[in-house]
């Protein structure tokens, strides 16, 4: 499921252009499951399960399974339609280099939204 991100982003020239200065390893947490997503120049280089006890990422966005399930619905319900909304609801959290995350926030929101209606 998460692996679909790679094609959805890399085949979207406008999104790749928006992220052309984005180089980061992002942790993505969905409930108990975690991934490391390597972004290079706005393209997703690789997506790996974060299955080691010691991992390194620049920043991470982690949320409950329910939060992501609703976020990825074709028309998500109020308060579940945006990363910031879910932060406010206490159902998501940021970790790591927050400035780097926020400097790329619009791009990252659009990246994560590509899975909407496909999960």
């Amino acid at each position: 499921m998460i692996n679909a991100l790679q094609t959805l982003v890399n085949d979207n020239p406008a999104l790749v252009r928006r992220g052309r200065w984005t180089d980061a390893v992002m942790g993505l947490g969905i409930g108990e499951r975690n991934w490391l997503i390597t972004i290079r120049g706005g393209r997703i280089d690789k997506i790996e399960p974060e299955d080691l006890a010691v991992v390194s990422c620049d920043f991470a966005i982690r949320g409950t399974e329910d939060a992501w399930t609703k976020f990825w619905q074709p028309m998500p319900p109020p308060r579940h339609h945006d990363i910031s909304a879910l932060i406010r609801e206490g159902k998501m959290r940021f970790e790591g280099n927050i400035d780097l995350l926020l400097a790329n926030f619009l791009y990252l929101k659009l990246v994560l939204e590509t899975l909407r209606g496909r999960v």
């Binding site: 109020p78 945006d82 910031s84 927050i98 400035d99 926020l102 926030f105």
Partner: protein
């Protein structure tokens, strides 16, 4: 070329002891309808309303850029100051502009920070305003996100402001209007959105004064978008419950910027309110 009915002008006026060069736009004739934009944006948010003949046939619609916003300049010496909007400064601004434009008991409609300040105006100046319309209006908004990144040299302020507001637009808003709404945010001056949020979530708590609003002297109408997680429908409901006679409508599908994110959907909710004001 299709030319819109909107005209824009600049005026010089004194507000709080300082001189400002202020830009405003207007269209139509009839009851003055003074419109207040959201934090960090400008009066272009009201362009659909200013171009709506069903409104401008009966209302003189006026929308101004607050100082520091849009085409209104910051004051002389701004480069050495930190901009922060306060309750007193905001009330003074709206009253001063209304009097300077010689508006006869206008309806004042504001969104977000504007939706908050109209409650102050209804309480303090029912003699000056014939009704208030609060969009995304609540007595207070709890801060849920750090605001320093809105003005920090290692983060592009325009991109950050747009990212901050991206999800405040309802998910079903037409793309062209979503992105125009965000474009206004991308164009804001450094630190201006952050400075407005000082009023929104620090200084501007009106909770303890709501019961003193006399809606028989100045009716209070509130319209809140269902998808707003900053000023939630619940927050507006709690606020309306404290104002005797206030009327609240929750707008299905809409977010924090109803007049600009989805003008067609918004007017369905606004027109009944304007018709009520005309009838009164």
């Amino acid at each position: 070329m299709e030319i819109e009915a909107i005209t824009g002008r600049y005026g010089h006026l004194e507000i709080g002891g300082r001189t400002y060069r202020l830009y405003w736009e207007e269209a139509g004739s009839g009851i003055p309808l003074l419109c207040l934009h959201t934090a960090g944006s400008d009066a272009r948010q009201y362009r659909a309303l200013l171009n709506d003949p069903e409104v401008t046939d009966r209302f003189r619609v006026i929308a101004f850029d607050m100082p520091w916003h849009g085409k209104s300049s910051p004051p002389v010496g701004f480069q050495d100051e930190e901009y922060q909007l306060t309750t007193e400064g905001y009330v003074d601004l709206v009253v001063t502009v209304s009097l300077a434009l010689r508006l006869d008991r206008p309806v004042v409609m504001g969104c977000s920070i504007g939706g908050r300040v109209v409650l102050e105006l209804a309480k303090r100046h029912p003699d000056l305003f014939r009704a208030v319309i609060g969009l995304q209006s609540s007595a207070f908004a709890q801060r849920y996100f750090p605001i320093d990144p809105l003005h920090k040299p290692n983060i592009h302020g325009g991109e950050m402001c747009a990212a901050y507001c991206y999800g405040l637009v309802g998910p079903g808003a037409p793309l062209e209007h979503r992105w125009e709404t965000l474009w206004h945010y991308m164009q804001g001056g450094p630190g201006v959105f952050k400075g407005d949020l000082h009023f929104y979530s620090m200084d501007g708590d009106v909770s303890d004064r709501l019961s003193e609003i006399d809606t028989s002297a100045c009716p209070v109408f509130m319209l809140t978008g269902e998808y707003d997680y900053s000023c939630t429908p619940e927050a507006s409901q709690e606020t309306a419950a404290l104002i005797p006679g206030a009327e609240l409508t929750v707008m299905k599908g809409l977010g924090h910027f109803p007049m600009s994110e989805d003008p067609d959907a918004f007017r369905e909710h606004l027109m009944p309110v304007l018709n009520r004001i005309i009838a009164d």
